[in-house]
Each structure stands twice: as C-alpha cells, then as structure tokens.
Symmetry: C2
Subunit: 331 residues, 2 copies
Amino acid sequence: MILSDKIKGYILSNGLITPGEKVIIGVSGGPDSITLAHILFKLQYDLDIQLHIAHFNHNLRKGSKADQKFVEELAVKLNIPFSTDSWENADAIKKGSIEELARDQRLVFFKKVAKQQGTRTIALAHTEDDLAETVLMRILRGAGLNGIRGMLPKRKVNGLTFIRPFLGLSRKEIESYINKNKLLFKIDPTNNQSIFYRNKIRLNLLPLIEKQYSPNIKHLLSNLSKNISADFDYLEIQTEKAFKKHAQISKNNNCIKFELDELQKQHTAIKRMLLRSSIEYLKGNTNRLTLKHMQEIEELILKGPNKAIVNLPGNIIIQKSQKLLSIEHNT
Amino acid sequence: MILSDKIKGYILSNGLITPGEKVIIGVSGGPDSITLAHILFKLQYDLDIQLHIAHFNHNLRKGSKADQKFVEELAVKLNIPFSTDSWENADAIKKGSIEELARDQRLVFFKKVAKQQGTRTIALAHTEDDLAETVLMRILRGAGLNGIRGMLPKRKVNGLTFIRPFLGLSRKEIESYINKNKLLFKIDPTNNQSIFYRNKIRLNLLPLIEKQYSPNIKHLLSNLSKNISADFDYLEIQTEKAFKKHAQISKNNNCIKFELDELQKQHTAIKRMLLRSSIEYLKGNTNRLTLKHMQEIEELILKGPNKAIVNLPGNIIIQKSQKLLSIEHNT
C-alpha cells in the first residue's frame, strides 16, 4: 500500500483531523518529521486541511541553527507557512532535567504558534518505534497504568490537541519512504550516541531484546499500550465521576477534602486514582508520587489516629481527622 | 528483622491464612520452597495452622527421583504429613508446551491432595524475583492488563486457593536465611542453563537490565504488577456486573448472546472484557486471543453486515445479527 493512503486511513479511522481544520506540523528536520510534512502536504486537499510548519530550535548543540534553516527551506519549497523560535537561555540551565525543560519550552512555543494561527491541532511524527521505546523506558523507570499506556494517537494537553498520524508506522517504513522519494533530512548527532537513556534503549536494549527474546517486541509493546489506554480511560472516567461527587474543594483551591466514609467505600483502584487526581489538581502534577506513598495514605485512612499526617513530595500534606481526609498544598 | 516475623506480618496483613486452617505447602526441594516449609513450620502454632507437605515429581530429568526422596525426608524430619505423586507419561508427550502440561499435571495433583486433606489452601514459595521474571516474560511475549498483573499473594483457581507468603521477599533474603540456618536443598540443574525462556530472562536479561538500565527493576516490576492488580480487579468487578445484567446464556452453555445496543453502550475497556469473559466462560480460557481479534470483533459490531462472522482460535464463532451479537463455542 502507498504510505500516504495508509496514513490517510489511520487519520480517518482514528478521527484525528476534522475537514477545514488548520494543522500545525512539528518538524525537527529528522527523517520522521520530514516524512510527516511530505505526507500531509500530499494529503492536504484530500483531507481538506490547511498546513503550517513549526520548528523549535532548542539551541542545545552546534548544528541546531543549520537544522532551523533546513526546515525553513523545506517550508518555502512546499509553500507551507512557517513559524520558528529558539531557546535563548538553554546554557543558563543549572539544575533539573534539561530534557524536561526543553520539552516545556517547546510546548510554550507550540501554544504561541497555535494561538497565532487560530488552531489547536499539532501533528507530531512519533512512530510505533517511539511508542515502544517510551513504554519500555517507563517500565524500566517505574510506572503504573498511567505511565505504560504511552503515547496516544490523539491527546489533549493544556488546550492543545496533539495528533500522531504515524503511531501505527514503523521506523523502517519511514526509511524506505525516505529512500524511495530521495528526501533530504537532518540527523541529530546525539541520536546516534548511547549517552542518553532513551537512546541507550533504542540503540542497545531494544535490538538485543528483538534478537534474543522477542522479535516482535515493538509491536507487542505498542499493543500493550493500546490495550491499557482503553482500560485507563475507563478508570479515569469513573474517577472523574467520583471526584465530582465527593471532592470538597476549598475556595482558594489549595485544599481538597473527602468524607472518610465515602473514601472507604471506593474500590482501591478508584481510591488511589482519586488521591492522585486531587494531588494533580492541587499542584499540577503527580511527579515523584510512588506506590509506597499511596500505601502510606491507605494505611493512614485505615489505621491512622485522629490528626495524623503523611507528608508527600511537592509540599503536599495529607491529614486525617475524625470524619475527613484533607489533602493540602502548601506553597 | 527476623525473616519469620516478616513473613508472619505479610501473611496477616494480606489475610492469607485463617486460624484453624490446614495449609498444604508445595515443596519442590529448591531453596525457596525448603525455606517456606521451615518458616511455616516455625509459625504453625503462632498462626494456628496445620501443615501438610506435597511434592509432585514431574519425572522430566534424572535427579527428580532423588528430589522426591529428599522432600520426603524433610517432611519426616519436621514431622509434617506428606503426599507425593509422579507424572508417569511425561515421556509420551509429543506436542504442545511441556511446561504448560507439567503445570496442569501438578494442578491435578494439588487438587487431589487438597481433597484428601479436606482443605483448599496451597502455599507456594514464589518470591518477588519470580514475580518480576513473570511480568517481564509476559511483557516480552505480549500481554494486556491481565497478563502483566502477574502473580497475586492470594488467588483462587478452580476451587483451590493459592497463597504466596514470599511474594514480598527477594531471592537474596532467602539465600541469606538458607546460609544462616545451614538448610539443605536441591538445585534443579536446568535452572542454571539458559535453555528455557524463563531462565534466559532470569540469568541474562534481568541482570543486564539491573546493571545497565534500572538497578531497581525487580522491585519496579513487582510494584507495577501490584498497582495493576488493583486496577484489573476493579475492571473485573465492573465487567462481572455487566455480564450478569446483559449476557444471555444458552441452556446447553455453548452460546452467549448480547443485545448489540447494550454492547455499544459499554466503554471499550468493558466491552473487550465482556467479550473475553464470554469466551472464557464458553471454552475455559482465552488462549491465543489477541488485541487484533478484539479489534476485528469491534469492527464487526460497528460495521459488519447482518449475518457476518468472525472466527476465533479454539472454535469460537462470533456472529452479528440484526439486534444481537452471538458468541458460540463449536465442539
């Protein structure tokens, strides 16, 4: 099958794009995103969409300026409007995960472009290989259901809708498309060094597992993630219902209380997700929250004396009183 | 902490044993099950339980007769009643997975001993290491939520209750207990050969991951499995409710029908589990049922014409009619 037909089918069957929509394509300049730009360019009239190319220059290595130029030239060649920006303070970062900060900066950029262009849809070129790497990485770093569901073909984040039309595609299929169509692309040199964790998994661990343990591992991991997405989605819906019904949110949004009785009645799975949701509501994320913390809170609910407290990462304090459990965010 | 105290705590907090109960200990003769026999022997009055040792000789290698004798001698030494049996037809097995058949044979043996002893509780010596291996193996072979929840501390199977008091214990803790108490045990020589899949994972892949990617991997996999157990349990309860409400079971138990309308109303996660449950109800297992099959059935429900059929492994036929979806087991 022609690749563009396959992608068209994937976009339609997963409801990724509505006719008339404007789609911003995130293009790094690598083979995956270059192929995505070319394929969406081919499909634009068929799908009735307008295109816009966006490139964010992270400024983290020497060739990044050249990559920016390269993507701009591609946009001119394809006659697709183009936005770009660069991260000027990358050098100044002293602590924290640079990878995470770079991702945040890119998100800010995407938001700006989306606002300027009057759309919410950003297309990214993640493949089945990326999905498999992500799932395996999260398993190795420790994850629950939320973590291993991996990337979704369509996901709303902070008012943006990220779509991933290539999630059913292998990197090999992209390579053969690139070769057949003699497309030019830029290779990120850090991609070939086993320095970073993801690259180590991509270049060493996954090939080893493919060769010696499970030739089909990428497909299996991507299936696992798809399966789990549905399960997690259901749990999320049930949790939202319970949250709306039982969470008592303080006026200044820094404290959530639950009746202990009501919490006890919930199934462990829902109880844990209610606690996670509350923490996410209060501090914006559940970073560094582990199963052990969850078990401490459950212990508190079951056996803790009146006024007993559990302290959690990120200044979250959980306190049990006679009839209530309160989750407070101290800033 | 003394190991027997730790195990006592685990048994009590997980509600594994009721006072007055008789517990059959499955003892292979390896270090884990020998330790389990010794620890439960120490705790028998404390926990108020009666013990019985059971050994099944799979007859698959030379030393198996000696292991059987060894376990019998241990039972005599500890003054614990003993049952044993051996698999006489192991040689005749031509096709199928010998591992799976051996497990089935052992289950038959456990059922017989449990009936004779008037109990349902069988204690097995699986450790956190075994759990981690199982989860990783299932990920590598392809699994959904059901597969990766791994082994549970307490699980009912076919009228038996398997308990695993060592699931919070590492193999290292057992080794140090064995050394300290100078316990004798038998080593299964096939355990040290990287021939079988599980052993390859135990002896090669897990140590490699521990060394190069995730020093804490066993604990993380066991946490993942614990987390997912709760989620799966919740989904199972919700599915059971929906099954009781909507499944129309034929008199001779070979066909289950659902109103298409009702099936459509269910969330994808529950819909898939309803279909899995139906197949399990009809043929006793869901072996070889993949995500792709599930997607085919979902496609059938959504777009299949009247009388359209999907054939599944194990003689299961799914048919769509005007208002019903029928799942039939042809034997």
